[in-house]
């Protein structure tokens, strides 16, 4: 029965490829209006409407919407910004961290919400843009606070033997300028990309097995759909986690630039 699947040849099951992620709606080439760009624009409108609607008439006894917004805000303000950056100057960075968290969270959740079902961050350009904001922010505040000379000097922890200092300095410069932005962007991209690809594989594979397979493969196709359902739940968890991790790491990098000692 498995032979049927394997020997079906050209008309056999095609596993989903990276081409699934490029979906231009209008135009072509670099200026094309693609599906993720429409999704992210819609998400910005949706977030703006939601935040204004739930906080315009703020009451002491909150409505459900106000409770949700305040809960998210409190989580980022107290759980991320204050804990990581420290109570002295965390308030300046709360707006940045909160908007990043909400934007990433809504765009990630669009990956499983039915009419949209496309995670924006599975196109590398979007995580790069968000990472560029974080990158510029933490370098800017670090350079502004102590000046370029001390900024580079602070990268090396004090009290090291002299011969090891150049090595550590090189490693730290690579960390600050290459590894941090690269991992920040790739982590978000990779998780969304891999998760979406996995869902595509299980759903299209299950569909193919149910339509074209024998009785055994039809049962396996049902199993594939169940697996897709379980993975969708798992994806929702990952989507929350990635939005949180991105915000947490952005706060950590900002805190590193604000700290007095390395």
């Amino acid at each position: 029965m498995l032979g049927n699947l394997a020997t079906a040849g050209g008309s056999g099951y095609q596993t989903p490829t990276t081409a699934e992620f490029y979906q231009p709606l209008w135009g072509d080439g670099p200026m094309a209006l693609t599906r993720p760009s429409v999704v992210i624009m819609a998400s910005v409108g949706l977030i703006a409407w939601w935040l204004i609607a739930t906080t315009k008439q703020a009451a002491i006894v909150p409505s459900k919407g106000q409770w949700l917004t305040e809960g998210l805000y409190g989580f980022i303000r107290n759980g991320v910004a204050r804990d990581i950056i420290g109570s002295k100057d965390f308030l300046r960075f709360v707006p940045l961290l909160f908007s990043m968290f909400v934007l990433i969270l809504v765009n990630n959740l669009f990956g499983v919400i039915p009419p949209v079902q496309f995670p924006t961050m599975s196109r590398i350009g979007f995580p790069i843009a968000l990472t560029a904001v974080v990158y510029v922010t933490y370098h800017f505040i670090g350079l502004k606070r102590v000046g370029p000379r001390a900024y580079f000097k602070n990268m090396v922890p004090g009290g090291l033997p002299g011969w090891i200092v150049p090595l550590i300095f090189a490693l730290e410069v690579i960390t600050f300028f290459v590894t941090r932005p690269l991992t920040l962007a790739l982590r978000l991209f990779g998780n969304m990309f891999a998760g979406h690809l996995l869902l595509l594989l299980f759903i299209t594979g299950g569909q193919y097995m149910i339509i074209n397979g024998g009785i055994g493969l039809k049962i396996a196709g049902g199993g594939s759909f169940i697996m897709a359902f379980v993975l969708t739940i798992f994806e929702i968890l990952i989507e929350f986690l990635q939005a949180y991790i991105f915000t947490l790491l952005a706060a950590t990098y900002i805190a590193g630039s604000l700290a007095d000692e390395h």
Partner: protein
């Protein structure tokens, strides 16, 4: 079925499988330590949680590199 087996696919994906071993072990160790810590001292949960997730994110980055490079160096 005759005796020969045709295996299609790509060696880059095997590379991804290999690159996932290290982070898998690492993430397991991180959460094992986190569970241990919470079991010994439940009131430290909030503090340990963000540290554990930070460590998870840093270890996971290596697996993500593997995934991305598997697609970059794919010669289909």
């Amino acid at each position: 079925m005759n005796g020969t087996i045709n295996i299609g696919g790509n060696i880059a994906i095997i590379g991804y499988g290999l690159s996932a071993i290290g982070p898998g072990v690492g993430i397991g160790l991180i959460f094992a330590a986190y569970i241990n810590g919470v079991a010994r001292q439940p009131e430290a949960r909030g503090m340990l949680q963000s540290i554990a997730i930070l460590g998870f994110a840093l270890a996971e980055a290596l697996a993500i590199f593997g995934l991305v490079l598997a697609f970059v160096f794919k010669t289909a």
